[in-house]
Amino acid sequence: MATKLVGRNYTTPDLKAKVTGRAKYAEDFRVDGMLFAKLLLSQRPHARVTRIDMDDALAMPGVKAILTEQDLPAVVEGANLGEGIIASTLSERGLTNEPMYVGEPILAVAAVDELTATEAIEKIHIEYEALPFVTDPLESLRPGSPNARTQGNVWVRPAATPPQPGQPPAPPPQPKVQEWKWTDADFAAAGPDKLPLGKTPDEWTYGDVDAAMANADLVLDETFVGANTSHQPLETRSAMAYWLNGKLYMHCSTQSTMRTIGAVARWVGVEPKDVVIISEYTGGGFGSKGSGAVFYVIPALLSKKANAPVMMRVTRDDEQFIGRARPAFHSRIKAGFRKDGKLLALDGLVIVDNGPYDPVSDSRSGGDHISLANQPEAMRWRMLTVLTNTPPRGAQRAPGGMQGNGLMSPLLAKAARTLGIDEVQIHRINAPEGRASFGPPNAQGRRPFATSAFVKQAIDKGAELFKWEERKARSGRREGTTVRGVGMALSTYSAGSLGFDGLVIIKPDGRLQIQSGIGNLGTESVFDCHRVAAEILDIPWEKVDIVFGNTSKHVPNTCGQGGSQTTHAMTRAAHAAGMAAKQNLQKLAAHVLGGKPESYDVANERVFQKGGGRGMSLADAAKKAIELGGAFDGHELPKTISAFTRTSATNLAGLGLMGVARDEYGREGSSKSYVAGFAEVEVDVETGAYRVLDYLAVADVGTVIHPRNLAAQVNGGVMLGLGHAIGQHWVYDKHYGAPVTRRFYQTKPPTLLDAPRLQAVALDIPDPQTPVGARGVGEAPVGAGFGAVVNAIAAAVGDNVFRRAPVTADVILEALEAGRPMKDALTANI
């Protein structure tokens, strides 16, 4: 492929609006007669609402409506709601009469302004019946301990029924909540500092773990506890809704534009065709706004009830509760190494702190990405997803992968030190290569594999650029009261889906109009991906217009902007649409000018006979396409595109020469991206305080589409992981089931002032299983951001200092004083 656009830096079309403040986020919209909504949040960790007295609130001038759980669409257990979603009475609905965490919304008030709505909430009297609660997952596994829900405390997926001969396999059974307790003997066997190894409802295995462990020269048995970390995007999940001609117009903050339609339709109880999503700019999501947020049902139904537009501005305090968080892993890993560092066997157990609602998939993802990054020859992975009365968890940038790769980093570093091997070498000897296998075998007994892995090149390049050997020489050497340490880590994550559609039109003025259903969530993939179509058509970027941010503007079937899918999926779709437009131009030229389509080429804004000869401008070709109609201008459409795209393309037919196509390029393997990270820290041994001085990340993410943006994604992911290492956390008082950390100075996410010197590099080796060569990059860096930093701390002050994250000054100082880790090993949220 030519590279006039792909692989080059450019200024995205939204930049000026963002830096001047002209960009309109959900809460910037105003419409006539708009009301404001405020939420009443539960003060109880688990209770049943027995009575709500709203009379005083409703009597206030300016109060227009109050929405409660009774106003939400009824749940029909087991109903198929589309997009793979099965209705469940256990699912979160946005408002509830049985709050299951402090901060869960119980009702919402719409009033003429926010102050009136707020004062109305203060006039509402609620009576509760207290129910048992628990905020610590391990506590909930103790015999006789409370369960987070009346149904139980653990998500369990019943065994699938084996398929009948000749019949397609039945859909997997829906997970259920049931009571699940470990025994006193389990806890006694573990002692005070190790995670007990009780029974688990879910596990997978490959290879002979026991035999491989028996052959190991070194066996480590490590307990590690991570932190629950809120997403805290700068834009909270605000939304404004109104109804017009039977359609719901939803201005909201979401990662995905097209992929938010179905979710909002499900929550509100309307057909997807009656939902319009407007989201031109989103101030970050990090996984928490994959397809918006369930709470968007509130302005939608309040608007219907009050018969007026309703704006719900979610405050920072609300967001701390309803804004999702990454679940902590409480893990115990037994790992057997050969003396050269090769990981022979891994036997892991993880408890995932799920919160009270729908199960997150972090436990499975954690095991998959450990097995991919570290390639153990045999592995067993046991999982429990435990419910707690704490805010609901959700996917957070590298869900499961971050925690899995993160907990392995200190373990590999410890093995390296114990065996006398270099830390880079132990990562390298265990790194995936080529079509590396990962995870458990499928029903046919085959293990899935990656499309490619050039991880060893990434590690080598990183070690060279970071001057690993030079820095290592001074690592651990004390100068005055400080000691430096270097660490490295490897992380990997899913990086692409396929099968979506692209839709472009060459207009009669010669400009290329590209329809984008991608959300503008800050990653810039909403623009970057489409440069592939412009590249194929050789149209200068100045002549490209991208239509985005509004589903009424006829966008194609698009993947969700989660799971690092987009760059892979939508560069393929852009490639397909660009190629479709090119072929359409060739056919049109042959039809008008004679000859065969393949004798024509497209370049320099013209379609022309190869080797010189007749041709026409793209502007003239567009005019001719409208004249000729049919497949040229979208009046006839390919059968392979989705019904959604068909509707959009039909609405745009006749505006120019259309290129519309589905990505049918196929793929062997799963697309995965990889990041090798290198960090240097300086620790003051008299205070325990430290700074991360330098960080280098080398990304194996396929072809680079937009270098500057790629570096921003890698550095941003590294900073998220670094925050997990240095301080971000929750604190709960488990006696009251209530959080005491609610503000940024308490939850302590990192800021720019905590950033080290950051450097991001990409290998730029194309992925062989996609025509553009590009994979996603959003998630792969996070685990390495965490791992390299904690490993650098261990290199500076020793392995025997921390056994949980974050690793803060008090953890280091107390351990150095005592000569062993002192911070409570197992308790959640301290």
């Binding site: 949040l41 003060q43 707020t118 405050t315 205070t687 604190v731 009251y736 950390t741 940024f744 990192p750």
Partner: protein, 336 residues
Amino acid sequence: MATIHDVMPMFALYQPESVADALRLLDRFGTSAWTMAGGMDTFDWLKDRTKRTEAVVELSNIAELQGIRQTGGGLEIGAMTTLTRVETHPLVKERFRLLSEAAGLVASPQIRHQGTLGGNITQDARCWYYRSGWPCYRAGGNICYADTPTAINREHAILNADRCVAVSPSDTAPALIALDATMVIRSASGERTVPARDYFIGPGVDITRLTVIRPGELLTAIRIPDVWAGADFYFEKVRDRQAWDFPLVNVASAIRLAGNTIQSARIVVGAVAATPLRLDRVEAFIAGKPRTAQTAEAAGRMAIEGAMALAHNGYKIPLMRNLVMRAIRGTAPATT
């Protein structure tokens, strides 16, 4: 009544242009007046709707509360002078680097541009239970939630606790005590001056306040005498992150040397008790001794005598010991 946070309630806003007008307002509204300096503490309380007020007396229009002036015997800093100004002012940097450094380590650049010196030393406790609106002793109740068997109290007191275990959150307060500063307090009935160390009060004196400021009173200025100008100074703050964050522990020292012998010293530690603690015994112990690692170590050990850890703040004892040691040893901190 249901609770809701993060919406500023209604109040009457007064923006007097003179101290006399401000004092008249404070006198008029009495206990229902709320004095606001930079707003960095005020907005938290009011937006959370945990504390309410009828009238906010906002001081930014009062020119006489601004600025740094040279006086006969030292410097006078208007209470409304921003922390950035305190940090960067040439006279402060030249003579009282201790205060300049302390001001520069408060919170974040944005907060230092808005926050004031008077506000920084007068701000309320940051105990997370108290701040979350729990009805504790400090809030007028009869329990300390931070000192129960299940309480999480990593950031709380190791010394001088009396029912309440909240700590003084200020970074500039230890520096001002070490500099023998004086607080100028005015009210409708006149002016009084209070030595910096007496400005701060523990729960034994009044469990609902951190300072001596009473309703109707206004901190107008901080006077710093020349007595410690140009001394050997040391300030260090240990915190979790480099942005908006309060000290886990901080330390300020001023030392006068004759050769290598300590003539006199001030050592003050913050965030270990409800008030910043001036360590008189340690000061007396090191006076006349050589400034050596041995002196510093012995002083550090002496500093923590009587310290009692809660369940989650045991680290504060060695941290305080080491910070006192460093403050005497005097080597610049490598990491903050």
